[in-house]
């Protein structure tokens, strides 16, 4: 019974905030929405865009200083962070930088 409960807890926890596997999160806000990048371009990862207004606590925990910011996670560990800086624009090669890191992670699994 305890094992079942533990299993249910682990599964439901995974819904709440999933950083398992390879995932990319774009930390952004409504006022820089036009500067966000399309995360669907990235392959072999799950992705999500979080807005500061709704997830202020997460922004604080992840120490987000610039908007937008992209963070690549692997099993919950931060692998790389791409920040927009004071220009509020992500570097043009952001997708390439992140995708390269994803490919490196994948390659290490084979």
């Amino acid at each position: 019974m305890r094992l079942l409960l533990l299993l249910v807890l682990l599964v439901t926890q995974s819904f709440a905030q999933d950083k398992s596997g390879i995932s990319v999160v774009q930390f952004s806000a409504a006022f820089v929405e036009s500067n966000e990048i399309n995360l669907k371009q990235l392959k072999d990862c799950s992705s999500e865009t979080l807005h500061m207004g709704k997830h202020a606590e997460v922004f604080k925990n992840e120490n987000i200083k610039y908007l937008p910011t992209l963070i690549l996670y692997h099993n919950g560990d931060e692998i790389i962070r791409v920040e927009s800086g004071i220009s509020l624009k992500l570097p043009e090669d952001s997708v390439i930088i992140i995708q390269d890191e994803i490919d490196k992670i994948l390659e290490s699994k084979f």
Partner: protein
């Protein structure tokens, strides 16, 4: 003229676009099929098995008699060196808790991904490995062909495995619908087709020996198996302390004495004959092919300090044989009696299953706990392996 130029330009652009499309198609195909795959050729040589003690026996000196100095002969079995060489190509992802044993692949790898229902990455995975090996002077040919495609909502898998040194030959193909529940848990259900060469539950020699006539007497007394293979028994008597003792001594087809009494024959030669008879009878049967429903479960959670991977496959008792003689199939494993298959018997279904667990817990920088285990019960065959341990690193 302008129209012709426009037409050429249009055709040119169209061809260029087609070529680009074609190029993209082949690029994507290459990525799907070969990206991260490894082609390898590998081999190893090891010294062969050496017996712990040497066996010696003496032979009568050809120039002398029984009581002259005999010739001491080394009767120990010596084997040529063992070897293994093979060729393969693989694209099979490791789970995060699996560490690459070596800096290279040589076909001896054992990955959880080969038995767990789902994979470490989505998409196409495969292993095509062929090898030849020599072990104790016997040469074997083995292979493992494995192909799987995993998606969010499907699993398709085809596998063929042959390990001649343990007489293992297994083929399977399965297709399942997969339902992910969150990112860590998934359940799947579908159908699997498996083959088996061994007629589980069918023991020909036992049936042959147990056959009785209407009076309950054995139709095939045990010693008649010897006659079937050209052995013969001979009546003999011995005088001992005024008593006449009698028995039967046995000769092989060449007339050499192989046992001095019935009891000795039964305990030595007869045992080999039983196995020989069974092998011959089993060889008369075709391979079996059975289709079954399959339900799978897979839970995977990985963090650097704690990880767990649990998986299970359950094959409920709704099997159907598509290949092989059903009379000799696993359906009748309990239906054999004196005289063969019982007439009033009915097919008996069974349950097969497989489960595995891998857990690791790094309590702190110095202490780590781990547990690994897998159990498989397919037909009469049970395979299990477990390891549990505690690691303490001194700093």
């Amino acid at each position: 003229m302008k129209k012709i130029l426009a037409l050429i330009l249009l055709v040119g652009i169209s061809l260029n676009a087609q070529e680009k499309e074609k190029g993209k198609f082949f690029k994507d195909l290459y990525k799907e099929l070969f990206k991260y795959s490894t082609i390898y050729v590998a081999g190893d040589i090891n010294n062969s098995y050496e017996e712990a003690t040497k066996d010696y026996f003496v032979r009568t000196n050809p120039d002398g008699g029984l009581y002259d100095i005999p010739v001491v002969v080394d009767g120990t079995n010596y084997y040529e060196f063992d070897y293994r060489y093979g060729i393969g190509v693989r694209k099979l992802a490791r789970f995060d808790y699996e560490i690459k044993d070596k800096h290279y692949y040589d076909g001896s790898e054992k990955n959880t991904g080969l038995s767990a229902p789902t994979s470490a990455v989505k998409g196409l995975e495969y292993v095509f490995h062929w090898e030849k090996q020599r072990e104790r002077d016997e040469v074997f040919e083995n292979h493992r062909y494995f192909l799987r495609h995993t998606g969010d909502y499907h699993i398709v898998k085809v596998e063929s495995r042959k390990q001649e040194n343990v007489d293992f030959n297994y083929n399977s193909a399965e297709i399942r619908a997969r339902l992910p529940i969150g990112k860590k848990l998934s359940i799947s259900a579908g159908a699997i087709y498996r083959t088996h060469t061994r007629p589980y539950g069918y023991n020909p020699v036992e049936i042959w020996l147990n056959e009785t006539d209407d009076n309950g007497n054995a139709v095939n007394p045990w010693y008649t198996l010897g006659f079937e293979y050209g052995y013969d028994d001979h009546f003999t008597t011995t005088e001992y302390q005024g008593q006449t003792l009698y028995d039967w001594y046995w000769t092989d087809p060449e007339g050499n004495i192989v046992a001095h009494t019935d009891l000795e024959f039964r305990e030595t030669v007869f045992t080999h004959l039983m196995n020989r008879y069974n092998k011959e009878q089993w060889a008369l049967l075709d391979d079996f092919g059975v289709i079954s429903p399959i339900i799978g479960l897979d839970f995977y959670h990985y963090k650097n300090k704690f990880w767990t991977h649990m998986y299970a496959n359950y094959l409920p008792p709704y099997h159907k044989y598509l290949k092989g003689d059903v009379d000799f199939s696993y359906f009748n494993r309990n239906n054999w009696g004196a005289g063969g298959l019982r007439e009033d018997s009915s097919h008996e279904q069974w349950e097969d299953w497989q489960a595995g667990i891998i857990m690791g817990w790094k309590l702190n920088r110095s202490i780590g706990l781990f547990l690994e285990g897998e159990y498989t019960k397919f037909w009469d065959s049970e395979i299990y392996n477990t390891s549990i341990g505690l690691n303490i690193t001194l700093r």
